[in-house]
Each structure stands twice: as C-alpha cells, then as structure tokens.
Symmetry: C2
Subunit: 695 residues, 2 copies
C-alpha cells in the first residue's frame, strides 16, 4: 500500500519545482493550472473549466493522511481500507474488531461516528503570491525572513477563515515561487458505512504489498453528516459500471503527499547516505518492537495492528526508494540533468545570481546531518513514543503559543489549525496502558542510543533511572488518559500547565526548550537558506524551460493523468487487469495460508460472484503516497477505479517519474458493487454507489 | 532461549578475569581449578577428584555453539531443541519438516546423520602458561607480540594434535594470565535420535522467551557413532527420576560462551554507547529482512526458520543486556568497584606499572569505535549475507593460508582447526537460491548504508550496478552450490583460485585485502594493547584479591553451582517449578493461539500424562549463552534438569552476576521420560535415558 502521508511530518523535508522534459504521463498538476494544452495535444482531451471544477469539489482529503471522493449525493465517501484503518482501529474493541471482521451499516442509524476523523474538500484557490512576497523584504536575515513569511501566511489564513468560515491554509508551491490560499470545507461528523475484512483488503499482506498482479479489495466507505443528517453533496462522481478499458485515458484526483523530484544531487546524496538509512534504522526498530508486542497475544495483536501496518508499509516503500537512490543509473540521470541545467544557467547573464544556489544547498546538508537525529528524537517525538506524550506536548505548547498573537505562533498553533488540533487533542480514541508503556519503554532506550547516554537532556529525562523503570514511572504518573483532564489543562492555560504535576506534562516541559531549539536550527539554518536557493533555481527554471510545469507534491489536491495499460517485466507481459478468478487461483496456489487466506465469506460466496469481474488494474498516472483512496476517473469523470498502491517499480517516483514498468495500482470499479452484492449482502450500498443516491 | 555462541564470532570481543567479592553462587569455574573450598564451606560438599573427572568427560560441546551431555553408555547425547535446531533444519526438506513436526528414530537404522555437526568432549587440560609466556619477549612491538603469541599457540596445538590425535586448542584465560591446552575427543558421526515439535520445545515463542514461569520441552537427543556403530561411552550421567528438589545444591557443567564481567567501565560504556546499539541495529534489520522473506509463503517460512529464531533470540538477549548497561544502578556498582580497586593498586608500590592500564583500555576504545562497523561488514561478512560467500572466502583464504607454515596462519586456518573447517566447508546443508539471493540483496544495500555509498571498495563491489541487480548477478555467476566444485577449488589451491571466474570467488578476492586490513587494525591496535593492559590488571587482582577465582567465559567447559529456588518478583512469589498442568492452563488461557498453541499430539495425549510432573524449574547457577543444553546435576552427578534459558533478570549476567531474582531456567528431568512415553510412544528411548543403556 502507499504510505499515507501526514501534514506535519513532511513539513521540514522540503520540496521543489519539477523540471520540464517530462515523461509522457508525468505530472501532479494544480487544479488552477491544469495541463490543458498537453491533454489536448496528446490525448485530444479538451474539457471545459466546469469539468475540472466538478472533479475538484468531488475530491476529498482525509486529514489523517489520504484521499477520497464523494460518490453519492448523500455524502457517501469512497476511500481505501488502509486510509480508513486508523478510524476502524479506533472504533474497535476487544469484543468487536472491525479491522479483522469488517463492518457494514445496514441503516443510517447503524453508521458509526469516527472518533476523530476530519475530511476537507477544496472549494477555492486564491493566488496570494504578491501579498506574501511583499511582506518578506530582501534585506532581512534568514531568521527574520522566516518569521516575516510565517507571520503573513498565518495572517492571510486567519483572515480568510474568519471571513469565509472555511478552513484556510496558505500553501507554498514551487518552493516559494508561488503562494496559494486554499479554502476547504471541513467535515468532522464522519461516519463509517462499510469496510471489508482486512484479509481481503490487504490480501497477500506484506509479501504482495507494492506488487502486481494484485487481488485486493482495498476499499472503505464513510458518510459525511451535517447537522446530524447525511450531507447533501452537489459534486459527486458518477460510477462507471463497465470499469477501466485497456488503453483508455484516465485521471487521478487526489493528494500526493511528498516528492523529492527537483532535489539537487547533493540533497539526494544526503537522503541516500544519511536520511534514508536513518529512517530505515528507525522503521526496523519500530517494526520489531511492534511484532514483539503483537506476539504476546491476540488482543495485543489487535491493538498494534494499524501501527504495525503503517510501519511495515513505510519500511517497504522507503526501502524501495532507497534502492532507487542506490541505483547508479538513476543518479547518473539526475546528475546529467543538473549539469545541463547549470550550464544553461551559467550561460545566461540574467541568471548570474542563481549560480551559487546548488552550493548553498549542498552546504546546508551538514546542518541537516548534524541535527536531524536530535530533531527526530525530540521534536519528532521518537524518544517518547506514546500518544500521551503528543497530547502532553500539545497542551504545554498550546498554553504558550495561544498567548501569542496568531502571526508569532508555531505553524500548527495558527488560528486556522485550531479546530483540527482540538479534534485530535480531545479524541476519545482507545489507549491501552500496556501498549503505551511498551512503546515508551522501547523509545526511551532508543533515545539513549541515538542521543547518547551522557547527553545532559537524556540524563534529565531518565532522572537517575533505567529506561524501563522510568517509563513505568511516567505512565503511572499521568492522568492524560482522561479527556476531561486534557480539557481542564487546555482551558486552564499557562496557569494550569505551570501548576500541573502530571508526569508527562512535566516531561514535555522538560524537553521543550531543546526540542524548540533544534527545530529552530533546522528552520533557520537549513530550510530558510534552502528556500531562498530553490527559489532562485525555480526562477531560472521558469526562465530556461517555461512555466508549464507542476510543483513537487505537498499533500494538496492534484490532478494526474495517464493510460490504462500493462507492462513487460523481465521479458514477461503483465496484463493490465486481474479478476476475481485470479484471486481464488492465487489463494489456492498458496494453500490459503496467511497472508493468502480468504475470509470465510469469500469462500462461501464464491459461486455467487461473477469471477470474470475486473478486480485490480494498473495505469500510468503519476501518483505517490497520500494518493491512497483517490478516484480513478475516465473522460466523463466517472469512477473506473480506486487508487490503492503503486507497483515496486513505482517506488522511485519519489525522485523521478518513469513509465516503462512503473504503474499506479487500483481497485476496478465493477468489483466494488459486485462484491458488495454477492459477498456482503450490501445491495443497498451498491445501488447507492452505482446510482449516486440513497434509495 | 539463550543465545548459542560461536567460537569465531566472539574472537575479537575480549574477555577478562572475574574479581572476588562474589555473590553467593557466582562463578563459571575451571575443571582444573574447581571451587572445592567454597563448596565445602558453603554447602558441605566435598567430592573426590574422580567426581569432577566424571562430570567433565560426560560433558559435550556442540561445536555449532551449545552444550550437551552423555546420558547413556551407548552414545546418547542430550541437548536443547534450540541447539539441535540447525541440524534439524539442515535435514529438513519441503516434504519433511523435522523442525515443525519433530523426529523420532524407532530403531538405530532410522537415526539420521547430521549434515555437519561436530561434538567435542574435553579429555585433558595441560597448563602451558610458561611455554606461551616465554615465547613473547618483553621488548617486542604490539604486532610482534601478537604474532609471537599466535605462533607459539598454533605450534603447541598442532604438536598436541599430532601426538595425541585429539583436537587441541590453546585457550587464553584470565586475559593472558594463563594459557591452557585443551584436548578434546572429536565426534563427527552425529545422528539425530529424537526431537519434539518446535511448538512444544519453544512454547510461548518470543513472547515467553527469557520469561518465567515457563513450559518448554526444549530438548533434543543425538547419538554419536564410531566406525558406524553407537560409540561406547564410559562417562555418562545417571538419571534422576525424582528430579530437582526445592533448596537442593545443583551443578551445571557446560560451555558458557562469553561474558564481559571484568570489563573496565570504559569498555562497558563503549558497549552501551556504541557496541550494543550497532548490534541492535543489525539484528533489527536482519529480523525484518527474515520476516519479510518468511511472509512469502510456507516454504519460505520453513527455510528461514532457524535463522529467524537465532536472530530474534539474540535480539531479545542483547536488548536485555543493553538495558542492564543503561541501568545507572548497575553502572554505579561497576564504577564503585573499579574505583576501590584502582585505589588499592595506587597504594601498592609493587603494582606501579598497573596504574595506566585503565587509561590504555579507555584509549583504545576509539580504535574499536572507528573500525568495528567496517570489521563487521567486511571481516564479519555482514555485507555479503549468504552462506556461499563464507564458502568462497574460506576457499580463497585456504589457498593462501595453507601455503604458509602453521604458525603464521590466521587462527582459524591452524592445523588444529583443519578437520572442523573441512566439515563445514564441504557440508551438504541445503541452500535455496531465492533465500540466498534475498539475504545478499539486503546486505549489499546495508553495506552501502554502513560503509558509505562512495567508499571505494563499496563501488568496486557494486561494479556499477544497483545492489539488487548486483546480487542477482553474483548469485547467477557462482557454482559454489556444488560441493564437488568447492572440493575442486580447495584441492586446486592457489592456482585453481587464481584461475577461477566464479563470481563469489572473485568477490571474496576483491574484498580480502580490506577485510584483512581492518582485522589487523583491531588485532594489533585494540586487542593487543588490551591484552597487555588486562594482563596487568589480572596480576594486580591476584595480588590484591588472591587467586581463588574464575575467568570470564570463553566457550570452554566450566562448572557452575547453586541452589534450586524460586524468587520474588514485584512482591509476588514465583515458585521454583512448573508442571504439565500449568502448560495446559496457559495454552487455554491464551486460546491456543500461536505462539501458545499445542501440537495435536499434546492435546490428544493429555489424559495419558501425569499432569503433576515437574516440567521446568529455576536455580541460581551462574550460566550464560553457550550453556544451552547443559545438564543440571545433583550431588550424586545425576541429571535433574536440562538448562535451556535464563530469565529476563539474568540477562545482565553478561556484565554482573546477581541472584536476587535472576535465575537459570531448565527442563526438569522427570518431564523427559514422561513425555517420551505418554506423548511420543518412545518408551525405548525413555528406558535408555533412565537406565543408561539401550535395551
């Protein structure tokens, strides 16, 4: 499965503008600058503005890190099972495991409110580039520039939210080349309608993850409500009963999370030699830690399931990315492109100030290398791996940040983010003492390893105790399990926080100075110089190559396009689609042993299914993690599929798009109503999907 | 389960002498210097020399890294299932999985020859300290000292082997304070007699590993043959039908692999801050890599089973050790001891030359830190994680080393090691292309991460290709799968090796210079100065504390003693033994879900078992990894148990013995014949064990 993405985690990684010289179907295009010319020339596709507007408003962002779409006028939202997984996990208990057993609400009354899910729909884009740029004067220091930019962006967002009532964010595109104000309609009453068993959603498990051919019903349906009733949706996608056709043009509208395609070679080398290896080290450690916990029993396995899924999924995706970085052919292409472009810049007198940009970016990688581990441990929270620490930190910082004017706050405490923050902070998601303790114990030990046992802060965190002992003490001394306690501290502000003797509040206070300090170093000594250097490179790109291009992914809405088609792998033709028949063949071939076992229901109902139904298919649109759950639509904007993965060859798309073998992988639209009817007795839901209305 | 141990892996870690001021039952004592006085004073035990000689000769070392004992006059050897696991794995195929299903030979004809198992029995110990020390003159450089010592040790061993026909090794004890020549009888016709299902041998899996109370039948029986017939054994251990009694004195005779108890604080800090974290990083990576491979299907799971078991077991043991190192209380004790001792040394004018030893040891940790990763990757072979690379390297080095005189060779190519080396080199253990490729691919990627992508050797190893591509090329270009091919290259010597175009031979040649270079750095700049410094400290110890003490573990035969007794954990009494009844209760409590599921046979035969039979028990003898499979005997040298583990609290025994909660964990003797009869219809084997003779 694709990694889901997270808004805050990607914040400090940096992004950039994509060069021209695109591969055939390359591009994650902005909805206010779609590739109309390209589509017309290459595919003879020439839709009116209303087509784009319709698709944009039918697209849904899961704030927890994924994509989706409206597929009925009554608020029905389609996404992936693995995007809904967090919500499913939070609704599950020892007695009712919706992840394992699935869920189907037969009536509206049975639809089950998600604990803390927030969905956003992009309603409007306003170009605010001039307003932002004019606030950042040329003679400011790096720190002052960063502060001025943050202030004006926070101000624009807050004013917009106040004025429109819509969630408003200023998005930095083309690495500071442009700033767009995005206004989202926000849905927080999100109810679970249907989820299949994880066994069929993730058939083949880790072994088949990022593989193709594939046989996964990776789908999940939610419904958004307003005022206690299903929301009325004007823009929803029609359904294609016939599904994808070999060779046809298709589009993907979704929220690609993060790409590094215009990184300079120096940045890619940093990622290859330091960034990715550190990520792998962390993911391997987490995966083993979670497997160990899961091995204690069935209930522990259930509790850790979504986290283990996420970690294993990231591990496989990242290893694929790292393999790309370690591939000398890929790096040679990048190097050649950079050389050619730098030569063009050197030959253009008007671009004289750009020449040093590459060296600046290369130079600041040292700042990154020297600080990223401490950043990850303290500010990223890897040293304190319990949900409760995140809550404690939010409470401690809220008291401090909300006392400042909006423009001076840390980004995530901007007025525009407040509602989302409160939704997460007061979430009643289940937390389990033994699991939180297990994670915290492991992470305190890892903190000693990474920051060094004799680090002064480490010693203060341990307070003279061994990590295991200290973790137990911290867990016993907190009341943050209780949402009422969180509310009390939140409402009480600085006074309440200062008076609190809660162990985790005290811990969050203890580390806050160091955490903020390392964040500041990366923001001012890495991000700001990089931003200014990439801004120069971006301007040079526009000058040399023209402006008809797309920015690196930013977990904002993008449109990709491409062709439904198979590929050739090691001399063997891989057909574009699979069928239900193939699913049963594979299960049989693997003796129905996990992860190739089928849910009982799928064995019992086999004869009721049309086995020739298209199940999964591949196509060339340019996607990445965060696109999970995106609709695949045809020229008529009808759903022909549901993105859930890329194949192994697509894992280098983080750095460079290719389409010789790399493909996006989707659930075919016909398999969805077919399985709902034949396997799940969910004909009503199937009818709603196909007709676009509840009956 | 305890880690097994390996002779070569531990070679460069270093060991030392244990201080006095022992805890009650502390000590891994030498058979030629047993703690007679202590035993008499503390337990009133006063056995004649013949008692020790009998126990010594009844003790068996599994050269693959574990312990065992003779339990019948007809060559029957008892050990742990997890010690026999490698042999079981090598005998298994897709069709017959002895690891999963167990094995029982009803007749001698059915006893199944292990592929490459070598058992050693210690027959004689000769003190050769003077001979070794006189060969190492005081005025030599570090390199010359190391070479002179190696030469004389190789010479003594080779002469002894020639003269006696016994496997001969010179063992360094008390870190160079003493050198003893050990003469072993060697058995290489080792046949599998009985193994239970891994499910019952390792009931509770990773979750219960190093836990107590416990319910594991971790046993395995082999028989040694000579001239095609069961070997006649004079010294075998009698069986205790009644088993362990609460509070009784017991002994453990076995081969503790490695301890770090007399490490200086500086060395312990190195291990805490660098050594162990790097080991954890490697083990986490390996564990995930193996889990990923195992997830591909049942057969893959089978193929990777023993390696995954070993890695997960080490990971849990090492993490326990690291937790000890991160415990400020443990380190404070070590620091206080060192301070006291250094003060005593400083006050003794005759020990003036000793004072600088601690600083020397502290200083050379930098050498270790700067070189250990490269050593592990190149000389340890972690960069080339396929059994075939080990074979290729052995062939390449054999051609070079055997051309030198015995005294000049690398240790493992000494004449005394030749037979063992050939046994491993020409082993017909099954190798699977996909598994070897999977491991090699992952390890080449890891090599890039650890050594750096731009490292010159890394670039030469990759030969312009991505790790995945290069691994496939290497695997396709080798014929070392074929034992005949290995023999041809081995017999052909340097000429054959130089002419070979085998991909892995070429690779082994390519890395050999660098691998030898980093080994040499560690041997001369770390080990030799350490040896000399620890030698000084050892002399000071003898002077200050007397000589009645024991050396750190060296995977040679030791005697430990202690008391059968339970302990108090978090205020709760943990009884000394468990019973079969407890096994069934635990399985029921865990819903019979893996790893708490029982083999069918154990469910069917429940009514035939005496459920009150003692199953596992704990006692205080001082053991460590490598002791796995050791017999636990009573005063009459009767087997009352079979060591298979230590509890979680014992994992700090690597660094310091304590007996408040830490315990050795064993299978009780009565459970062995009882389960053989009631569950496995193996009454004949049970009779042989209990009576000491085949019927």
């Amino acid at each position: 499965m694709f990694r889901k993405t997270s808004i805050f985690v990607t914040a400090l990684i940096g992004f950039a503008m994509i060069p021209l010289g695109l591969f055939a179907d390359e591009g994650m295009w902005l909805f206010n600058n779609p590739p109309k010319k390209l589509l017309k020339e290459r595919y003879g596709f020439d839709a009116p503005a209303s087509w784009y507007d319709h698709v944009q408003r039918a697209s849904v962002r899961f704030n927890s890190g994924g994509s989706g779409s409206f597929v009925s006028a009554d608020g029905l939202v389609m996404t992936n099972h693995h995007v809904g997984l967090g919500a499913l996990q939070k609704l599950s208990t020892k007695e009712k495991d919706f992840v394992k057993d699935g869920f189907f609400a037969k009536t509206l009354d049975e639809e089950f409110k998600a604990v803390d899910e927030e969905l956003n729909v992009l309603h409007e884009i306003v170009d605010v580039t001039d307003q932002v740029k004019s606030a950042v004067k040329g003679d400011l220091s790096a720190t002052e520039s960063a502060e001025a930019r943050r202030a004006v962006m926070a101000k624009i967002a807050a004013e917009s939210e106040k004025q429109t009532g819509l969630r408003s964010n200023v998005i930095e595109l083309y690495q500071g080349g442009q700033y767009h104000l995005y206004r989202f309609k926000r849905y927080t009453d999100v109810r679970l309608v249907f989820a299949p068993e994880q066994q069929i959603a993730f058939f083949g498990g880790d072994a088949d993850n990022f593989a193709y051919p594939r046989y996964d019903l990776d789908m999940c349906f939610f419904r958004v409500y307003e005022d206690g009733k299903p929301a009325k949706i004007e823009h929803y996608l029609k359904w294609s009963k016939s599904g994808p056709k070999d060779g046809e043009l298709v589009f993907v509208s979704g929220h690609p999370g993060h790409t590094d395609r215009l990184n300079t070679v120096a940045e890619l080398e940093y990622l290859r030699d330091f960034g990715y290896p550190f990520i792998m080290q962390r993911l391997n450690r987490l995966e083993v830690m979670l497997i160990v916990y899961s091995g204690q029993g069935q209930e522990q396995e259930r509790r850790a399931k979504d986290m283990l899924f996420g970690v294993a999924n990231s591990r496989k995706a990242r290893l694929g990315g790292l393999e790309g970085l370690q591939d000398p052919a890929m790096m040679a292409r990048k190097r050649a492109q950079e050389k050619t472009f730098r030569a063009a810049v050197a030959n253009d007198p008007s671009l004289k100030d750009v020449a040093g940009a590459w060296d600046t970016i290369a130079k600041v990688q040292t700042v990154r290398k020297n600080n990223i581990k401490r950043y990850q441990m303290l500010e990223g929270g890897s040293a304190f791996n319990t949900t409760l620490f995140g809550i404690a930190r939010t409470l401690v910082r809220a008291a401090e940040e909300y006392a400042k004017p909006n423009e001076k706050r840390l980004d995530e405490f901007g007025d525009a983010e407040k509602k989302s923050l409160e939704l997460r902070l007061f979430s009643r998601r289940p937390l389990y003492e033994d699991f939180e303790l297990h994670k915290l114990t492991d992470s305190l030990g890892w903190m000693c390893e990474i920051l060094g046992y004799n680090d002064k802060l480490v010693q203060r965190v341990l307070a003279g105790k061994a990590p295991r002992e200290r973790a137990a003490e911290l867990m016993a001394g907190t009341k943050l399990w209780d949402v009422a306690e969180r509310k009390k501290l939140y409402d009480g502000g600085a006074e309440a926080i200062n008076a609190s003797q809660d162990s985790l509040i005290l811990l969050a206070k203890l580390v806050d100075k160091d955490a903020r300090a390392v964040r500041k170093i990366l923001e001012t000594q890495l991000e700001e110089p990089k931003k200014q250097a990439y801004d120069k490179i971006a301007r040079a790109k526009f000058a040399v190559e023209g402006t008809n291009t797309y920015p690196d992914a930013t977990f904002t809405l993008r449109l990709a396009f491409g062709t439904v088609k198979g590929y050739t792998e090691s001399g063997k033709q891989v057909p574009f689609e699979t069928t239900f028949a193939g699913l049963y063949d594979k299960a049989k071939d693997k003796n129905h042993k996990p992860p190739f076992d089928l849910p009982h229901r799928w064995i019992e109902r086999k004869s009721k299914l049309n086995l020739n139904t298209s199940f999964n298919f591949v196509a060339t649109p340019d996607i990445i993690g965060g696109n999970s759950g995106s609709p695949v639509i045809n020229k008529d904007a009808e759903v022909v599929g549901l993105i859930f993965d890329g194949n192994i060859q697509s894992l280098v798309w983080d750095f460079a798009y290719t389409d010789d073998e790399a493909r996006a992988v989707s659930v075919s639209s016909p398999s969805i109503p077919e399985s709902l009817r034949a396997v799940y007795d969910a004909g009503g839901l199937a009818d709603e999907i196909v007709s676009g209305r509840r009956k």
